[in-house]
Point group: C2
Chain length 347, copies 2
DNA sequence: CTGAAAGCGCTTACAG
DNA sequence: CTGAAAGCGCTTACAG
């Protein structure tokens, strides 16, 4: 036994146990303890049990800093995003933490500004300096191929959450926004609407493209065509929704139903309808996307497409924790329509 | 020079520079480089400049894992919270990251369930295992003295964000909710309201106590008394706001104004008023607290008390980064009323 | 299946 | 103001 075992002074909080303490107390080498920590199969079962019991009794937890230094990789998962709604971010975080809890990994959040010219560089610095174990890319940064390429180049594991597959299957969690929009189309058609309009998000958002294309295609399949004037591009914000609604509702002949690319813009439609004295749903049916809390705060409660963001976060984090060699495939999260009171057959 | 300098194979990405590389290239000892990294004054100015230039050229960044191991403390700030609204959490995170960006520190988020019997233990494990540099306690966990005591006992630095001071000044960021509520009282009184009601949050939330006591006291000071029947306790949620509003608006004589402890509950009042055909603000004035995005999505736009949550996050993180010996004092963030269209003089 | 040695990239005493 | 030695708590080859 080396002579340096420190005797803690009385009153001083006992320093936390280390791998050396466990090895000594268990009468094995520290390498064996290390093997147990890392779930190596090269340990006899009885040795493993003896040591694990001891670790539990002593309350030993391996130091992530020391492990990280030796591994050249930390036990941190990074979540990188640009500017989604607060509820979306928080649900994604909750989901990721659901799977990280108890794993020894922690979640480091990293919002960034993808319009900034050097944002990819700044994400690279973040990832490299922290030696992240893996990175979750949330829309819309998840759609940026240059960002993904950079991460691949520096050899860090990542998962992309997006409306469609954009990468190798084991790196994708796909939310199938096209299907959600198609469900809206079917619903509105089934109510009898034929003069339908849509307010889309920005055309450089993949989610926006998928939602609008999916909507148009599903309507076509049911024999309804959306003329160009009935599709207005907005910016996924409340204010842009207001502006788009003014365009759509200010004309001579109003559509009888509007599908909005998200709930924020649907709230904008509500605002304009309220001011113009247009009754929802009697004179105008409205559907949103996201099923945010806002949807049920509005009056009448907004019919909207739910995406299970928390589950998306859970799955994404789980994909990052999978062992290097484990079989991996694309994950899917399916949207579905939540019907509330904002639609009815056209007057 | 030790003989172990590795020659990287061609094609292999050059390994990142270490403190040894910098020391060798600069012709100083690694201790001197370490002093420069840690801003020690015990370095000659020209030495410092020479080495700093070199570090920049090489793109050297000290490894937080190695530093953390040697310091016995990581470069991570933890944010611990229970269940505030999404917007509040996100703004707090943005604020904290505003000050952390470029500092070498990162933000680790840690939501928890303060009703769980062992939550304090689970926070302790989190803090100790990660060897956190500091912890931000967000309401309502910030109000839990047992949690703060635990953190003090294990010797970790923390900051508490709360409606009133609950701890040593250098550990407090105070949001003065009492003042915000008083401003609402003054405003409603100035409009001529005398039959006023309040929907409060849970009585075991400090923010709730401060907002209701502050409101009642300020009304008293202006000669208005709130009878017990005009104060209804709810749970800071939309649904509880609906229930409270039904109580207040279902009676014979309705109040002409309602102050709600947060915007979510104010949305509940809107819902009940809408269903009952009570016009806001013509027949009923409503005020909220938080100035969340919801406030401007509602119709009519809701007058509400703004608290600058992002700034609160900024300040809190800054207090945690202050050097051990730096002079420190209590920080304050002041609320203020944002007047929109949900109030007018009583009919 | 197990172990002794060397190393990950830093900092902390201790000297000078 | 500067440096050589030892150590932080782990893991990775390399032996056996």
């Amino acid at each position: 036994m080396p002579a340096k075992s420190k005797i803690p002074k009385a009153g001083e909080p006992a320093r936390a146990a280390t791998i050396n303490d466990i090895a000594r107390l268990a009468g094995v080498s520290k390498k064996t303890v290390s093997r147990i920590i890392n779930n190596s199969p090269l340990v006899r079962q009885d040795t493993r049990e003896k040591v694990e019991t001891l670790m539990r009794e002593v309350g030993y937890v391996p130091d992530p800093l020391a492990r990280g230094l030796a591994f050249r990789r930390s036990f941190l998962i990074g979540m990188v995003y640009d500017n989604p709604t607060a509820q979306f971010i928080v649900n994604m975080q909750y989901g990721a933490l659901d799977t990280l809890r108890g794993s020894g990994f922690e979640l480091v959040v990293h919002p960034c500004d993808s319009r900034s010219p050097n944002y990819i560089d700044s994400v690279r610095r973040f990832v490299q300096q922290q030696k992240l174990h893996g990175v979750m890319l949330v829309p819309r940064v998840s759609e940026d191929q240059a960002l993904a390429d950079m991460l691949a180049e520096i050899g860090v594991r990542y998962v992309r959450i997006a409306a469609v597959s954009l990468d190798a299957p084991e790196r994708m969690v796909v939310t199938h926004d096209r299907d959600g929009a198609a469900e809206v189309a079917d619903y509105l058609q089934s109510l009898g609407h034929t003069d339908i309009a849509m307010i889309t998000g920005p055309r450089d958002y993949r989610s926006s493209i998928e939602r609008s294309e999916g909507f148009v295609a599903a309507l076509e399949a049911r024999g309804i065509t959306l003329p160009p004037g009935r599709v207005v591009e907005a910016g996924y914000t409340f204010e842009s929704g207001v502006a788009a609604a003014e365009t759509l509702l200010g004309g001579k002949k109003r559509p009888t139903a509007i599908f909005c690319g998200n709930d924020e813009m649907a709230a904008g439609v509500y605002r304009v309808a309220m001011r113009a004295g247009i009754s929802i749903p009697r004179q105008l049916s409205v559907v949103g996307y996201d099923d945010s809390p806002l949807a049920s705060r509005l009056w009448p409660p907004l019919t909207s497409v739910r995406r299970d963001t928390r589950d998306t976060g859970r799955i994404s984090a789980a994909m990052l924790l999978l062992a290097e060699g484990a079989p991996r495939q694309m994950a899917s999260v399916r949207p579905h329509l939540i019907v509330r009171d904002s639609c009815q057959p056209p007057g």
